[in-house]
C-alpha cells in the first residue's frame, strides 16, 4: 500500500508554523500540569515506600491505622516487648526492640502559620534498629535521660527553634536542640527526644508503637497470627515498608484523583484545539488532497497521513510538556499526611512513570484530536476536492 510521504506532513506543519506552535504549546501546558500533579504524588509516595525496610517490624494496637491512633499503656507495651522472643539481639544479648512514643505537636513555621510536627520519643535501641539510615549530620546524638532533642534536617529551616543550640519548649519543659539528623524517609520531618523525658514533659504516660528487628528466619506470618489473636495485647504486625506504604494511601488517592480530573477536563480542551488546527490544515489543503487522490493514493493513506500529522503535534506537545515539568524534579515541597495529620517535607519526583503517563496522554490528545479531521480528509472525492478552492 502506498503511503503519503511523511515529509509532506512535516513540511505542512512547518508552513503553518504559528498554528503548529500554538497547538503544541497548548498540549504542552496541559501535559505539564498533569505531570506536575503526578510528580507531587510520586515524590510523596517514594519518600514513604522507598525508605521503608522489610527487616524492621512495626507493632501497632489492633485496629489502629497509624501511630497517632495506636496507643499502648506502659504496662501493655512492656508485656508486648517481653513476649517478643523472636527479636534479634545485640552482641551483649540485649533484644533489638524499642517501644516508642509519637505525638503530632503544634509548632510555628518560620514564615508564619502553624503546623503539626511529629515528635518521637525514642530509646537507645531505636538507634540500633534504624542503624545507618538515621545519620546525625550536625551536632551530636541525644543523650539518654536528658532534656535534649535532635531535629530532622527538613525541619531546620522551616520550623522555629529547630537549629542546634536553640531551645524548644514542649508544654512547659525546655528541651535543648543538640543535633540535626537526616533520613531518606519521613523521619527527616520529625523531632526526636528521649522517650521518658518527652512523655513526662507532655504528661502523657502512654506509648504508640513498638519496633523490632527479628532473628533471621523468623516466621513473620506466624507472628502476625499469634499477636492478632493475643488475648493480652492484640496487635497489628507490619513490616516498616508495609506500614509506610499504608500511610500514603489517602494523599495519593487525592492527588491521583486530582490528576485524573485535570487530565479529563484539560484534555478535552486540548483535543478541541488539536481538532481546530487539523481542520484548518484540512481546509487550506483541500486542493492538495484532490491531487493526492488523483495521483492514486487510497483514502486510507490520506487518513493515515493526516493522523500522522496529528500524532506529530501530540508528540511535540508531550515533549514540550515534559520539558516544562522536568525542572520540578527535586524541588522541595511539603504536604499533609492525612493519616497522622502531620506535614511531611519531600521533593517532586518526575519518575519514569510520570514521563510515560505524560507521553501517552499527549499522544492520545493528538490522535483523538486528529481522528475526525483525518476521516473527513479521507472521505473526499478527487474531483470535488480539486474543484473547491
Amino acid at each position: 500500500m502506498a503511503l503519503v510521504p511523511l515529509s509532506y506532513n512535516l513540511r505542512s506543519l512547518a508552513v503553518r508554523w504559528s498554528a503548529t506552535l500554538l497547538t503544541v504549546f497548548g498540549i504542552g501546558a496541559t501535559v505539564a500540569v498533569l505531570a506536575g500533579v503526578l510528580a507531587l504524588q510520586q515524590g510523596f509516595q517514594t519518600l514513604f515506600t522507598e525508605s521503608g525496610r522489610d527487616d524492621v517490624i512495626v507493632f501497632l494496637r489492633q485496629g489502629a491505622t497509624n501511630e497517632g491512633d495506636s496507643v499502648f499503656s506502659l504496662e501493655r507495651s512492656q508485656i508486648l516487648v517481653k513476649s517478643l522472643q523472636e527479636a534479634a539481639t545485640l552482641a551483649d544479648g540485649t533484644p533489638l526492640v524499642a517501644a516508642e512514643m509519637y505525638l503530632a505537636v503544634r509548632r510555628f513555621k518560620r514564615d508564619g502559620g502553624e503546623t503539626n510536627v511529629p515528635i518521637r520519643g525514642v530509646t537507645p535501641r531505636s538507634f540500633d534498629i534504624y542503624g545507618a539510615t538515621v545519620r546525625v549530620v550536625e551536632g551530636r546524638r541525644l543523650a539518654q535521660g536528658v532534656d535534649e532533642v535532635i531535629v530532622g534536617r527538613k525541619l531546620v529551616e522551616r520550623i522555629r527553634d529547630c537549629r542546634v543550640g536553640e531551645t524548644l519548649t514542649l508544654n512547659t519543659t525546655p528541651f535543648k536542640v543538640v543535633g540535626i539528623f537526616d533520613h531518606d524517609g519521613p523521619f527527616a520531618s520529625e523531632i526526636w527526644g528521649d522517650r521518658d523525658r518527652i512523655a513526662e514533659a507532655l504528661e502523657r504516660p502512654v506509648l504508640n508503637r513498638v519496633v523490632a528487628i527479628l532473628q533471621p528466619g523468623t516466621d513473620l506470618a506466624g507472628l502476625k497470627e499469634r499477636l492478632d489473636a493475643d488475648p493480652q495485647v492484640p496487635s497489628k504486625v507490619l513490616t516498616e515498608r508495609e506500614y509506610l506504604t499504608s500511610q500514603t494511601a489517602a494523599l495519593s488517592f487525592v492527588l491521583r484523583g486530582l490528576g485524573f480530573f485535570l487530565a479529563v477536563v484539560m484534555g478535552t480542551a486540548a483535543v478541541f484545539t488539536a481538532t481546530n488546527t487539523m481542520l484548518a490544515a484540512l481546509a487550506s489543503r483541500t486542493y492538495e488532497i484532490g491531487i493526492l487522490l488523483a495521483l492514486g493514493y487510497r483514502p486510507h493513506a490520506i487518513f493515515l497521513s493526516f493522523l500522522f500529522e496529528a500524532f506529530v503535534l501530540g508528540i511535540a506537545g508531550g515533549a514540550v510538556g515534559i520539558l516544562l515539568a522536568l525542572p520540578l524534579n527535586g524541588v522541595d515541597t511539603g504536604a499533609m499526611n492525612f493519616q497522622t495529620f502531620t506535614e511531611v517535607a519531600f521533593a517532586f519526583r518526575v519518575t519514569p512513570e510520570v514521563l510515560v503517563t505524560a507521553a501517552v496522554f499527549a499522544l492520545i490528545l493528538g490522535l483523538v484530536g486528529g481522528t475526525w479531521p483525518a476521516l473527513r480528509a479521507a472521505a473526499m472525492r478527487p474531483t470535488e476536492a480539486m474543484r473547491r478552492t
Binding site: 504559528s18 498554528a19 500554538l22 497547538t23 504549546f25 497548548g26 498540549i27 501546558a29 496541559t30 505539564a32 500540569v33 506536575g36 500533579v37 507531587l40 494496637r61 489492633q62 485496629g63 489502629a64 491505622t65 497517632g68 491512633d69 496507643v71 505525638l103 503530632a104 505537636v105 503544634r106 513555621k109 502559620g113 502553624e114 503546623t115 503539626n116 514542649l170 508544654n171 512547659t172 507532655l202 504528661e203 502523657r204 487525592v254 485535570l262 477536563v265 484539560m266 478535552t268 480542551a269 486540548a270 478541541f272 484545539t273 481538532t275 481546530n276 488546527t277 481542520l279 484548518a280 487550506s284 515541597t333 511539603g334 504536604a335 499533609m336 495529620f341 506535614e343
Partner: protein
C-alpha cells in the same frame, strides 16, 4: 464605527471551529471556577467564624486532651457566658473511607454556644433525653441514606470497644447549620456516654476533653478573656492556648499545606493552555479574513474599525466560552458539593469566584484579540487584497 454584523457573520463562518473553541474555553473557565471554589470552601470556616467564641485547646498538640476539671474553672473566668466541650471521636461508618467528623459533647452546652445548629428533623428533646442518641448533619445523613430513628453503627478507631464491636448511636435528629462555622457533616453524641463507657471498660481511649469553646458575654472583650485563660494554666499541668474561632479555623487551613499555591499553579497552566487555544483560533480566522480587511479598508472603513472587527470577535468568542463555563460551574456545584462535601464542607461557587472567572475570560479575550487586531490595523489595502489564502 465598527460594522457589528461582520463580527457575528465572521464568527459564524466556521461554526464547528467556533463551537470547539467555545467548548474548550468553557471547560477551562469551569475548571478555574472549581479550583477557586475549593480554596474558598477551605477558608469558609475562617470567614464565617463567630466573633464571640473562644477556643481553648492544648498548647502542645491538637491530639492532647485537656483535663475535665478545666471546664468548671474556665466557666468562672469573667466574661464567659457559656461553655461547650468538644471531644474528637475519630471513628468511621462501616469502612475507614467513610470519613466524617464525630464529636462527643454535652448537648445542652452545644445548643447554648452554637445557636446556628438547628434541628430540622426528629426532635431536640429526644437527643437531650436519650444518652445513646446522636444528632447528625443533614449532608452526612443524605450521603448514607440515614433517617431519624435509625441506628448508626460507628467503629471507634480511636476509641475501640473491648469486644471490637461498633458503637451504636440512635439518630434522634438531623441538623442544619445556619453558618459556615459549623459544617453539616458532623455527628454529635453525649460526652457522658463516652465517659461512662471508658469508666466501665466498654471501650478504651484517651480521656479528658479535646477543646473547650467559650461563649463571651456581650460587653466583654474576647482578647482579654483569652489572655486570662492563657495565664490560668501557664505553668501546667497542661498549658492551654486560647484563640478566636477564626484563628482556630485558620490553623487547620494552614496545616493542610499550601493549597492556594498548588491551585494557582494549576490555574496558571490552564490559563496558558486556553489562551494559546483561543489565540490559535483567532489567528486562523484573521488569516482567512485578510481579503475582507482589504475590501473594508478600500471601502473607506478606518484602521480602527477594521481592527475593531477582529478584536470584538475575540471578545465575543471568549465571552461565550466564559459564560458557558460559569454556567457549568454553577450548575455542577450541588453535585460536586455532594461528592467532596466531607473534605470540603460548604463547597459553592460564590459571586466573587464568578467575578474572577469573568476577569480571566476578559483577559483571554483581550490577549487573543490584540495580535489579529494589530495586524489588521497595520495592513495596507494592496497587501491585504493581494494575499493568497
Amino acid at each position: 464605527m465598527i460594522p457589528l454584523a461582520l463580527v457575528t457573520k465572521n464568527l459564524g463562518k466556521h461554526k464547528l471551529r467556533f463551537v470547539l473553541t467555545v467548548l474548550s474555553l468553557s471547560v477551562a473557565i469551569f475548571l478555574l471556577c472549581v479550583l477557586r471554589s475549593l480554596v474558598v470552601a477551605l477558608n469558609a470556616g475562617v470567614a464565617d467564624a463567630a466573633a464571640n467564641r473562644i477556643i481553648v485547646q492544648s498548647k502542645v498538640s491538637l491530639f492532647v486532651q485537656l483535663p475535665q476539671s478545666y471546664g468548671p474553672r474556665l466557666a468562672l473566668v469573667e466574661g464567659v457566658e457559656a461553655l461547650a466541650r468538644w471531644n474528637w471521636f475519630g471513628g468511621y461508618y462501616q469502612d475507614p473511607a467513610n470519613f466524617f467528623a464525630q464529636f462527643a459533647t454535652d448537648p445542652e452546652e452545644l445548643f447554648d454556644v452554637y445557636p446556628e445548629i438547628q434541628v430540622v428533623e426528629g426532635s431536640k428533646a429526644d437527643f437531650l433525653a436519650n444518652r445513646k442518641a446522636c444528632l447528625l448533619g443533614v449532608d452526612t445523613a443524605a450521603k448514607y441514606g440515614i433517617r431519624v430513628g435509625d441506628t448508626m453503627p460507628i467503629i471507634g478507631a480511636l476509641y475501640p470497644t473491648a469486644d471490637g464491636s461498633a458503637w451504636d448511636f440512635t439518630v434522634a435528629g438531623l441538623y442544619e447549620s445556619k453558618r459556615k462555622s459549623v459544617d453539616q457533616n458532623t455527628l454529635f453524641f453525649h460526652y457522658e456516654y463516652l465517659e461512662k463507657s471508658l469508666e466501665s471498660g466498654f471501650a478504651s481511649g484517651p480521656g479528658g476533653v479535646g477543646i473547650f469553646v467559650l461563649k463571651v458575654a456581650p460587653g466583654f472583650d474576647p482578647v482579654e478573656v483569652m489572655s486570662e485563660v492563657d495565664a490560668l494554666y501557664e505553668n501546667g499541668p497542661q498549658a492551654v492556648q486560647a484563640t478566636s474561632e477564626s484563628e482556630f479555623q485558620a490553623q487547620f487551613v494552614s496545616m493542610v499545606g499550601n493549597v492556594p499555591l498548588l491551585v494557582s499553579s494549576i490555574g496558571g497552566g490552564v490559563m496558558l493552555a486556553i489562551l494559546l487555544a483561543t489565540l490559535n483560533t483567532m489567528l486562523m480566522s484573521a488569516r482567512e479574513q485578510t481579503r475582507d480587511i482589504g475590501v473594508l479598508k478600500a471601502l473607506g472603513f478606518t484602521d480602527g474599525s477594521v481592527s475593531g472587527v477582529l478584536f470584538l470577535q475575540a471578545l465575543v468568542l471568549a465571552g461565550c466560552g466564559g459564560l458557558l463555563g460559569m454556567i457549568l460551574a454553577t450548575a455542577s456545584a450541588p453535585g460536586i458539593a455532594a461528592a467532596i462535601g466531607s473534605m470540603f464542607p460548604g463547597y459553592q461557587v460564590t459571586r466573587g469566584t464568578l467575578l474572577e472567572a469573568a476577569g480571566a475570560t476578559a483577559l483571554i479575550g483581550v490577549l487573543a484579540g490584540i495580535a489579529p487586531a494589530v495586524r489588521a490595523r497595520a495592513m495596507t489595502v494592496i497587501d491585504a487584497l493581494r494575499a493568497v489564502r
